[in-house]
């Protein structure tokens, strides 16, 4: 009896130790994530927020990226952006010893606009195609070889690396169709990339609508399409949209697919300054993720560049994380509410 109880004690201690190891591993992951958020939040916050009213660095959010000029002027250290420097030049006609640092002054306004345009276009595309194919898969299809093929294709498409989507978009849209580096190439590349996620999410929501709703409608003499439109989609749509928000986070966050299909490192016109309205679709844009790539790999790490690097990363992270957070919170809510 005594041996058994000491054995029991040993297993209990063992259990404790192992569970604590699991707990530590879990909290270590969470701590790493928190550290990343804090580091970027604090250092980026210094750029984006200001101490005085209006507490937000409006210039950073509304200006163009510019070259920063650093120089010594009669013992005074000057840090001027390109436009400020030209202004200064008009009053001080002297030669100074300049150090110029690309991208490190001004703001990121065109990048924000470009990312917004890319997300809106590609999500519209992905939602139309994605919801339609989900309707087919859940409402019309019978299990057959064709459907199995579609499902295998969706599963595999979900695993294709984003850079391969970038190559594909470059080969098909940019070169073969001759759209060049443009918004519309980016829309199609990103839209097709996020398609599997949208289809899976939409199908799940459609299947969650109880069969009785369809049968009741069909029994009253409605056609299949009437049933879907009036009795299935309205109930599934909130679920579809919330799940798709996570797709938005992915579309906004990816860099590799737009590197050669839609993004410019620098462009000095806003997207709506076009001579003909069709040109709007065929122009490249600046985008936040690509801008982060450019400022973190093409210019050195120092006190002057850190401002724009962390600031851009902060703005981008906040945007993407807000989108993701909305999606996760909404999903938790719909899950608890939608129990039929």
């Amino acid at each position: 009896m005594i041996g058994a109880s000491s054995n029991q004690k040993k297993t209990r201690v063992m259990e404790r130790i192992v569970f604590w190891a699991f707990r530590l591993a879990t909290y270590f992951v969470l701590a790493c994530a928190s550290y990343i958020f804090l580091d970027i939040g604090i250092k980026g916050g210094r750029t984006v927020f200001t101490k005085a009213a209006p507490f937000v660095n409006v210039k950073f959010l509304t200006q163009w990226p510019q070259t920063l000029y650093v120089f010594d002027y009669h013992g005074q250290k000057m840090e001027l952006s390109d436009s400020e420097f030209r202004q200064w030049k008009t009053t001080h006609n002297e030669d100074v010893d300049l150090a110029s640092i690309a991208y490190s002054a001004g703001g990121i306004w065109p990048c924000i606009v470009g990312t917004a345009l890319l997300v809106i276009g590609s999500m519209t595309l992905a939602l139309i195609i994605g919801i339609s194919s989900a309707i087919y898969l859940s409402e019309y299809s019978r299990n057959g070889p064709f459907i199995r093929l579609v499902r295998v294709a969706i599963l595999n498409l979900a695993g294709v690396p984003s850079i391969v989507f970038g190559l594909f978009g470059f080969g098909l849209f940019v070169i073969f169709l001759g759209w060049n580096v443009s918004l519309i190439s980016g829309w199609f590349t990103l839209g097709l990339m996020v398609l599997p996620a949208i289809i899976t999410a939409s199908e799940e929501s459609l299947r969650a609508v109880p069969q009785g709703l369809r049968e009741g409608s069909l029994a009253l003499g409605a056609t299949k399409w009437q049933t879907i439109r009036k009795n299935v989609l309205p109930y599934a749509l909130p679920g579809i949209l919330t799940s798709s928000i996570l797709g938005i986070a992915r579309v906004a966050g990816e860099t590799a697919p737009i590197m050669f299909t839609a993004a410019y490192a620098m462009r000095d016109e806003m997207p709506w300054h076009v001579s003909h309205w069709t040109d709007f679709f065929f122009q490249g844009v600046m985008a936040l993720p690509y801008h982060i790539y450019v400022v973190s790999s093409k210019i050195p790490q120092n006190e002057y560049t850190e401002r724009v690097q962390y600031g851009t990363a902060f703005v981008f992270l906040v945007v993407v994380m807000l989108i993701a957070l909305t999606s996760i919170l909404l999903r938790e809510r719909t899950r608890s509410r939608l129990s039929w």
Binding site: L155, I163, G253
Partner: protein, 484 residues
């Protein structure tokens, strides 16, 4: 039935059929896109093999190969010289060092003529190649002039052998036992080198510019080539091995870190954590998966790389042979960040697999008197093992295909790491398949061999991830059967 007008039925049906077709077409998009990806990767990449074959044939016809044979010997000699200076670091006695320096200087001077020969032959071969490219035919006279380097090499080799034989018959006396040992090893290597000179002479005599290169060489030189050299004045090589090795090493580090953490946290959340804890941890980890990779890459450059290098300089880690490291951006840095990306994937899928184990399994185990840990280890994990394995595989797929983190943090040096350092190889910079596409695609000329080579790399990546995906699906299918 007779109340309904009979005419209307067919029209409605046709509208419905049209709608059905519309939705069906949309469902087709997934298949079409997958097919288009394959087609376009092939379309842009397919010309690569023909161009590469022409490239390889030119390499032989113009005599670049011939020069490279001689150059290899000069490089081997330089390598031996470098080893001598390594040995020098192990010695402290000053008089011994002075003797040693004389010895090392004499050794390094013995290759002077050889180096001169290489640089002459180099220029001749480049001129011959450019002339061949311009006119399309090989200038026989130029080839003959180049072949004159062969007898000259024989002469140089003979005199060099005499000099070096003389040198190593009277090696400098060293005091440190470690240095003596190294020098002995160096002497054996040098003797081997001298013997190899003869073999090279033989090779040079037998070398034939018109010897045909089999067409399969273009495929093997891509799949098994050790060098990826582009835009060089000499010869471009497109071998995928350095990139593949880089990708694999980064993925290995990432998985070794991510799998334990992912599975441990999945078990913790599904079996151990309290309800409130669970509802907090789960969304948080899912939240992590939404962090954009480029932000993680930037974080790697700004923080993690520095931290890894600083850690390698700490005195408590002095015992690790390959520390301190010099490059802050290396395999390990990129691997850590990718592990962080893979944890949410592995966590979510493993947690699903664990939750899908039927309640009865667990209850039966408890009823037999097992405690929670025993139930987890003996019942839950075996029952969900294939799900967990497929989770790890999908994590691998995500890690291999990830671009921005490796592009920013893996160091981007196109070379196979030096595996003689053991684990130290994991602290060297590499380049990866995804990274090379992202980095070089924007700069290449459309339709050039380099451009097509990048598409071939993309194709390899595509096939690799499809294979990993397929394996993961197979495991999931088995997992369903084991429960049913």
């Amino acid at each position: 039935m007779s109340i309904l007008p009979a005419k209307r039925a067919p029209r409605r049906l046709s509208v419905d059929a049209a709608i059905k077709t519309f939705f069906g077409c949309n469902a087709l998009v997934a298949i079409i896109v997958l097919a288009l990806i394959t087609i376009f990767l092939f379309r842009e990449g397919s010309g690569f093999f023909a161009q590469n074959l022409a490239n390889l044939r030119l390499y032989r016809r113009a005599g670049l190969e011939y020069v490279d044979l001689i150059r290899a010997e000069a490089q081997n000699h330089a390598q031996l010289s470098r080893e001598l200076s390594q040995i020098r670091l192990q010695e402290t006695n000053e008089t011994a060092l002075a003797n040693f320096d004389v010895f090392a200087g004499a050794f390094s001077n013995s290759a002077e003529e050889l180096n001169g020969l290489v640089s002459d032959a180099n220029d001749e071969a480049v001129t011959a190649r450019d002339a061949t490219l311009e006119s399309g035919t090989v200038d026989e006279q130029a080839t003959r002039a180049l072949r004159a380097a062969g007898p000259r090499f024989d002469e140089i080799a003979t005199s060099m052998r005499a000099k070096i034989d003389n040198l190593i018959s009277a090696p400098p006396a060293l005091t440190s036992s470690k240095a003596v040992e190294s020098l002995q090893r160096w002497q054996t290597a040098t003797r081997k080198y001298l013997a190899h000179l003869q073999a090279t002479s033989q090779q040079l005599r037998e070398w034939d510019p018109n010897k045909p290169i089999p067409a399969s060489r273009t495929v093997t030189s891509f799949l098994f080539g050790n060098e990826w050299i582009t835009a060089s004045f000499w010869q471009d090589w497109y071998g995928i091995i350095p990139l593949l090795v880089g990708s694999m090493m980064v993925a290995a580090v990432a998985l070794i870190i991510a799998v334990p953490f992912g599975i441990a946290s999945a078990i913790y959340v599904s079996e151990v954590a309290a309800r409130g804890e669970k509802s907090l941890i789960k969304p948080y980890i899912e939240f992590i998966s939404a962090i954009p990779s480029v932000v993680l890459g930037f974080f790697g450059i700004a923080v993690v790389g520095q931290a890894v290098r600083a850690a390698s300089h700490m005195s408590i880690l002095r015992w690790v042979s390959f520390f301190p490291i010099s490059e802050r951006l290396n395999v390990f840095t990129a691997g850590c960040l990718l592990a962080f990306m893979a944890v949410p994937t592995i966590f979510t899928l493993s947690e699903d697999a664990l939750r899908n184990v039927p309640r009865g399994f667990k209850e039966a185990s408890y009823a037999l008197g097992a405690n929670r840990l025993q139930t987890i280890a003996r019942v839950l994990i075996p029952a969900s093992l294939s799900g967990i394995v497929s989770a790890a595989l999908l994590g691998l797929g995500r890690v291999i295909g990830e671009t921005m983190v490796v592009l920013l943090c893996a160091g981007n040096r196109i070379a196979i790491p030096d595996f003689t350092q053991g684990l130290g190889a994991f602290f060297q910079p590499v380049h990866t398949m995804t990274g090379i596409i992202a980095q070089e695609m924007g700069e290449v000329v459309r339709g050039s061999i380099h451009y097509r080579a990048l598409f071939m790399v993309g194709l390899v990546l595509f096939v690799l991830t499809l294979g990993i995906n397929y394996l993961a699906q197979r495991f999931v299918a088995r997992f369903r059967m084991s429960i049913g």
